[in-house]
């Protein structure tokens, strides 16, 4: 055990960031050991938003447990639901209609854009820039409206069900997505103008929070954090699910390993998501949006694993089934948890301001880390 506040024997100061600190975007509690302004150690304390989602899922049926996963990584709610729907389909050997697969991938990519936009705005605000917040939320609002029309909710959609999607697309869906793409392409360069080229921003980002490719593998980081250090880790490329093997897109790899590389990976990923949506939106095939499944779903006895690429990295769902209508054991491998564990390595020897910048580029969503 260690003290939560005070000084160590060597005379280092121990301070707490969070759990109610605005810079942590949630109830993340970090205990910092400081020598002056130099960070010697960062220790995350988890448990403030633990809702025992994994245990809850054991008492819910295979249809019901999906809605809970929207509450894990709420910014990638669609993608979480997608992972759960995929694993149930894998266990039951259900053939998902093409139409549903197309809809799912479009929704996933819209979610990814919305998530990266929120990350961009929140990270810029951490660094002291307030204008980006409004610019990104203007675009994100359009995605939220599209989601609201089709799924009926803005954040916790619960749109994916085992066998397809819950309801048919809204008649205006394609038109609205297309107009969003046109608008978004026009405004994406503003992000670069406003922040990326800014000299203050660059000085705060470049060379800060460096993590090497080897350390990324050691800490199990995935998603943009791993790709910024040159590790190929996009599940959409490594193990494609639904129609990701049919669309063309680039896996963004940067080799810098610092905050600026992580920033650029996410900014470039947004235009790749647009590229994926453009390929699919006009070609949604006709047909059913949901495969016919039994009223009570029972996975056969055995173990199942499915991984997807959320906006933050690799989400894995592991189910042990005893053949009953509820899972015997369920485990989520959340991307945020592994990415957070690398924070200590990234910021040792840096100053507090750099620590905030490094934490901003990790894109932490606390309910995802602490399920």
């Amino acid at each position: 055990m260690f003290e939560e506040i005070g000084t160590t024997e060597e005379g280092d100061l121990i301070i707490n960031v969070g759990p109610q600190h605005p810079a942590t975007h949630g109830v993340l509690h970090l205990v910092l050991t400081l020598n002056g302004e130099i960070i010697k150690k960062v220790e995350p304390h988890l448990g403030y938003i633990h809702r025992s989602i994994e245990k809850m899922c054991e008492s819910l049926s295979y249809r019901q447990f999906i809605y809970v996963t929207s509450r894990m990584d709420y910014l990638s709610a669609h993608i979480n639901n997608h992972a759960c729907a995929l694993i149930v389909e894998k266990g039951l050997n259900v053939e998902v209609p093409q139409r549903a697969q197309y809809i799912r991938v479009i929704m996933d990519e819209l979610t990814r854009i919305a998530s990266h936009e929120l990350w961009w705005s929140a990270m810029s605000m951490d660094l002291g820039a307030f204008t980006p917040y409004f610019l990104a939320f203007r675009e994100r609002e359009k995605i939220n409206e599209i989601m609201e029309e089709t799924c009926g909710a803005r954040l916790t959609m619960n749109y994916m069900v085992p066998g397809g999607v819950m309801t048919e697309l809204h008649p205006d869906f394609q038109e609205k997505v297309k107009s969003f793409i046109v608008d978004f392409k026009k405004t994406l360069h503003e992000y670069d103008e406003l922040i990326t080229g800014n000299v203050i921003f660059q000085n705060r980002m470049k060379g800060v929070g460096y993590i090497s490719k080897e350390d990324v593998i050691t800490y199990g980081c995935t998603g943009p954090v791993a790709r910024a250090s040159g590790l190929r880790s996009d599940i959409r490329k490594i193990a494609p699910y639904d129609v990701y093997d049919k669309v063309e897109f680039d896996e963004i790899i940067e080799t810098g390993g610092d905050c600026f590389a992580r920033y650029q990976v996410r900014i470039k990923e947004m235009s790749q998501s647009i590229r994926i949506i453009e390929q699919l939106i006009d070609n949604i095939p006709e047909g059913d949006f949901q495969a016919k499944t039994k009223a009570v779903l029972k996975l056969p006895k055995g173990e199942f694993y499915q991984r997807v690429e959320t906006a933050r990295g690799e989400l894995g769902v592991y189910i042990v089934s005893e053949g009953a209508a509820q899972p015997y054991k369920i485990k989520f491998r959340s991307p945020g948890f592994s990415n957070l564990s690398a924070l200590d390595h990234m910021v040792r020897g840096h100053k507090i301001g750099d620590f905030i910048a490094a934490m901003g580029t990790l894109d932490l969503v606390i309910p995802d880390i602490d399920r």
């Binding site: 029309e149 909710a153 800014n198």
Partner: protein, 158 residues
């Protein structure tokens, strides 16, 4: 050499700052498209999407009839136990006992708006409504009875 680099750096820095300022200035002078909704003031015109999951609702027609048979599908589908069906036995025209709905109790305080009950309903009796101002002063008001008093099942719905 050093001086030239220094001046170049300063020039680049000032230019990058001005590029950002230019964009801010552009939006400051071009506010043609206001996207902010001034919520309490636009209550009269504000309408959410038709599919917005605000609360569960049972539509009744003009004869005070609904389509709920009391089969408990929604109660089984609900992950939080926010629906309870109280059924009763009625004697129909042929003198046989038949199960029918007495009360469809919906607890808004436990509902997460997942929409699984609407999915599960075989007779399309319940829907999600796009109302959103749902706060009340007493939490007992959040426990609602969805089928109206005196209502009965529509003819032909099995």
């Amino acid at each position: 050499m050093f001086l030239a680099d220094y001046i170049k750096d300063v020039y680049g820095a000032v230019k990058s700052l001005l590029t950002g300022m230019k964009l801010t200035g552009y939006y400051f002078t071009h506010h043609k498209e206001i996207i902010t909704e001034e919520y309490p003031n636009n209550r009269a015109t504000l309408k959410l999407a038709d599919r917005f999951k605000g609360e569960v609702w049972m539509p009744h027609d003009e004869n005070n009839e609904h389509a709920c048979t009391g089969c408990s599908s929604c109660e089984i589908a609900c992950p939080n136990g926010s629906i309870k069906i109280v059924s009763m036995n009625v004697i129909n025209a042929e003198g046989k006992k038949k199960k029918a709905i007495d009360q469809h109790i919906y607890r808004l305080d436990m509902c997460t708006m997942c929409g699984l009950c609407v999915e599960a309903c075989p007779t399309d009796a319940i829907h999600m409504r796009n109302t959103f101002e749902l706060s009340v002063f007493d939490r007992n008001h959040l426990i609602m009875r969805l089928n109206k008093p005196g209502s009965k099942i529509r003819e032909g719905v099995e």
